[in-house]
Amino acid sequence: MTKSIMTVDDSASVRQMVSFTLREAGYNVIEASDGKDAVSKINLADLNLIVTDLNMPNMDGIELIKTVRSMPKYKFLPIIMLTTESQNEKKMEGKNAGATGWIVKPFKPEQLLAVIKKVIG
């Protein structure tokens, strides 16, 4: 079965890049421009993974992770955060909120796929 991944980023180009990479790899992709948009679209498909940016207007990545984790359906959903902060602070904040893993921007398509594979196989 095709796996569904939601990519959340306020930058259309990053989003486009991520979804292009994922679609090429055979995933079904749902795009959202920020946390709030993501929550509104979360039931469009049975998600297997969320790839989210952290710095976003309206609802940021950390808030989104907390919201998703509180949903019974997605209690165990893998969530990968996109982070530029190589400092641990933001990463730890995301981890504590329930993120599964992270990928540090900038990244290459193959790096993204490698991290996804690590998380959902």
Binding site: D10, S11, A12, S13, V14, Q16, M17, F20, D53, N55, M56, P57, R69, K75, F76, L77, P78, I79, L82, T84, S86, K95, G98, A99, T100, G101, W102, K105, P106, F107, K108, K117, K118, V119, I120, G121
Partner: protein, 697 residues
């Protein structure tokens, strides 16, 4: 495709730059507005992030430093000044140029880039020197770090123990193991020790941990990287096996791998089973040696008393063994009760102890029974002499070949088999194998052959006595049977029914009485002996080609594989080896039979024994009863009971002298709750029914 992405990025970046410019201008008016600061930071952050992905490394590096400044501002460690706004606006223009490196007018002047960064650095140094500078320096240095690949293959023992709550972070530990196993050759062992009893399992928790033996060229850091997302949720131990390379030879690794795989296969109970097996075979060796010693001693004592001496000495041993088996039988019974109590209590501790006791008890039972098992070979070899003497006496040439001498049987069974086998072999040589001249006339070899073979088949041993003699003449048997009044002239008989006539008492087709045959021990005695061992006998013959007699014997007499049934409150066990099927008997069926004890099964008329009547059990007949159909000497006979409970393997207990003559019961067994169940002798029951039916007609 990539170009269209790049175009999208440029457009987006331009938009962001415009937004950045207007935000900066607003910020100049109200420098403490956190919303505006955040907006600026986000714009820079996004430009940095996406530019890296589209190959604008200069923008990334440039923006990164500026973004850091805004990060400090965001955290309140720096304040917005006019200098910062100026420099950021200059930076914005510079980024714009960097976005279009191909156009002449936007040619990037690297000096300006450097000047802008210098300006920012000064601002940071002036206001909050240490942190910022450090950070700017360190961030980029890590990026270009490259690893030197080491291609030495190493073996690691990796222990992975995830925190119970690991699933809550969306982590599937199996994915990590998969990733790890892609590093090279590996063996993964899962450890389920921590899994609690079913009722206490929380499905949202991870109780499993793993041990991985990995052979890879990757480094410890590479392995750690696999678990990078879970380093705080996972106990990870990586041990390099044999770092000095003493075991680096391929064959040694293979050996080690095999060893680990073997250990993985051998769980604790299996080790116990192995020990039990080992112990039982050890005791058997001791026992065999003791028997051999006894044999030798008896032989030395003199031929005359040979048989009785041998028997008496073995009888002593057998009694001791019987006692042991009896005790084990008691243990099995008590253990079954323990199981019932444990299950009734639902106490996990008692259940697990009961299960352990069950396992050990069954092992003990098996090993106790195993002690009684002896290879049939010793009996076989005795017959060589018999055949030699006999063929000489009868002027025939017969050789005995044997097969399956190693097949094991209960010692009691072997002992009791002796006489019937002698009788059958005598018959084969006397009636079966022709004289050498006769054989030559028929185109056979001068020397006849009697083949004795033993094979194990499930819980039974099949012993075949096969000769290549004249075979039996059905017509002669029929004629004789008619004379004796055993069959009707019009009776249709199948081949096996005809051949089974030879087991009738007083039946002999021998034309003359020889020293060998016709001395009063007929085939009926053979049959009774085999049946007393809960065995059965079958004959097949081809005229002119030979006769085969097959004895089917249980492996042991001490254990019976039975079908447990009940009638009212009484429990009975029928030997499962004879049971063919179970069907229902409704009051309709009884009515249709007009009072006769027969039932129609798929068009076949099967007689039955009503056990309730037979044993005078009080209580109402059920409207639907069960008929257990058994095969008795090739005939299907039903036994009517209330309910079929199920398979029941049990230790057989004899009823003692007082009940020795009770017909239709061969022994008893004790059920798990202490109830006694009688073991039915279905052959006798069927015979008795037949006799009574006849006399009533």
């Amino acid at each position: 495709m990539i170009d269209s992405h790049r175009q999208a990025f440029i457009e987006e970046a331009e938009e962001l730059l415009l937004e950045l410019e207007s935000t900066l201008l607003e910020l100049e008016e109200s420098p403490t507005d956190t919303e505006l600061i955040a907006k600026t930071f986000r714009a820079l952050h996004t430009i940095k992030g996406s530019s890296a992905m589209f190959g604008y490394d200069d923008i990334t590096m440039f923006t990164h430093d500026i973004e850091n400044v805004y990060d400090f501002i965001r955290k309140g460690e720096l304040k917005i000044t006019k200098d910062i706004i100026d420099s950021t606006l200059a930076a914005k223009d510079q980024i714009h140029k960097m976005l279009h490196p191909e156009s002449e007018e936007n040619k990037v002047d690297e000096n300006i880039t450097r000047q802008i960064l210098e300006a920012f650095r000064n601002i940071v140094n002036n206001q909050k020197a240490i942190n910022a500078a450090d950070d700017v320096q360190t961030t980029f240095s890590t990026k270009t770090e490259t690893k030197t690949a080491e291609l030495v293959i190493k073996e690691y023992l990796i222990s992975v123990k995830p925190a119970q709550a690991i699933f809550v972070s969306g982590t599937n530990p199996l994915m990590l193991l998969n990733e790890l196993t892609e590093f090279g050759e590996s063996i993964v062992l899962a450890n389920f020790d921590q899994i609690p009893p079913l009722e206490r399992i929380d499905a949202e928790k991870c109780y499993t941990s793993w041990e991985i033996l990995l052979k890879t060229s990757k480094s410890v850091d590479d392995i750690k990287d696999v678990f990078i997302f879970v380093d705080d949720q996972c106990e990870l131990k990586i041990t390099e096996i044999d770092p000095e390379g003493k075991l680096r030879k391929e064959e040694d690794f293979q050996d080690f791998k095999k060893l680990v795989a073997d250990i993985a296969k051998t769980k604790y109970p299996d080790i116990k089973m192995l020990l039990v097996e080992f112990e039982s075979s050890l005791s058997q060796i001791v026992f065999n040696q003791a028997t051999q010693f006894e044999n030798k001693k008896n032989k030395d004592a003199g031929e005359g008393h040979h048989d009785s001496d041998l028997n008496s000495s073995i009888r002593v041993n057998a009694e001791k063994l019987d006692e042991l088996v009896n005790l084990v039988g008691e243990l099995v019974t008590i253990q079954a009760r323990l199981n019932q109590i444990a299950l009734g209590n639902q106490d996990q501790n008692i259940i697990s102890v009961a299960e352990e006791v069950e396992r050990i008890t069954w092992s003990l039972r098996d090993s106790a029974l195993n002690i009684r098992m002896l290879p049939i070979g010793t009996t076989f070899s005795k017959f060589k002499r018999l055949v030699r003497d006999l063929s000489k006496e009868l002027g025939k040439e017969v050789e005995l070949t044997t097969d399956g001498a190693e097949t094991e049987l209960d010692k009691t069974v072997i002992e009791k088999l002796n006489d019937p086998l002698i009788h059958i072999i005598r018959n084969s040589i006397d009636h079966g194998v022709e004289s050498p001249s006769e054989r030559e006339n028929k185109g056979k070899t001068r020397t006849g052959n009697v083949h004795l073979s033993a094979t194990q088949s499930g819980g039974n041993v099949l012993i075949k006595i096969q000769d290549d003699g004249a075979g039996m003449d059905k017509d002669v048997i029929k004629e004789k049977a008619l004379k004796m009044g055993l069959i009707n002239e019009n009776g249709e008989l199948s081949d096996s029914e005809i051949y089974s006539l030879i087991f009738t008492a007083g039946f002999s087709t021998a034309k003359k009485v020889t020293n060998v045959s016709g001395r009063g021990v007929g085939m009926d005695v053979v049959r009774r002996a085999i049946e007393s061992l809960r065995g059965s006998i079958e004959v097949s013959s081809k005229k002119g080609l030979g006769t085969t007699i097959t004895l089917k014997l249980p492996l042991t007499l001490a254990i019976i594989d039975g079908l447990l049934v009940n009638i009212s409150d009484e429990f009975f066990v029928l030997p499962l080896s004879s049971v063919e099927e179970c069907i229902e008997l409704s009051s309709d069926d009884i009515e249709k039979a007009h009072g006769r004890h027969i039932v129609n099964i798929r068009g076949e008329i099967v007689p039955y024994v009503n056990l309730r009547e037979r044993f005078n059990i009080t209580g109402e007949r059920l409207s639907i009863e069960q008929v257990v159909v058994a095969n008795i000497k090739g005939m299907r006979v039903g036994f009517v009971v209330d309910k079929v409970i199920g398979q029941h393997q049990t230790v057989l207990k004899t009823l003692g002298k007082v009940y020795k003559n009770v017909e239709g019961v061969s022994g008893a067994t004790i059920l798990g709750d202490g109830t006694v169940a009688l073991i039915l002798d279905i052959i006798r029951l069927a015979e008795k029914e037949e006799v009574e039916e006849r006399s009533s007609n």
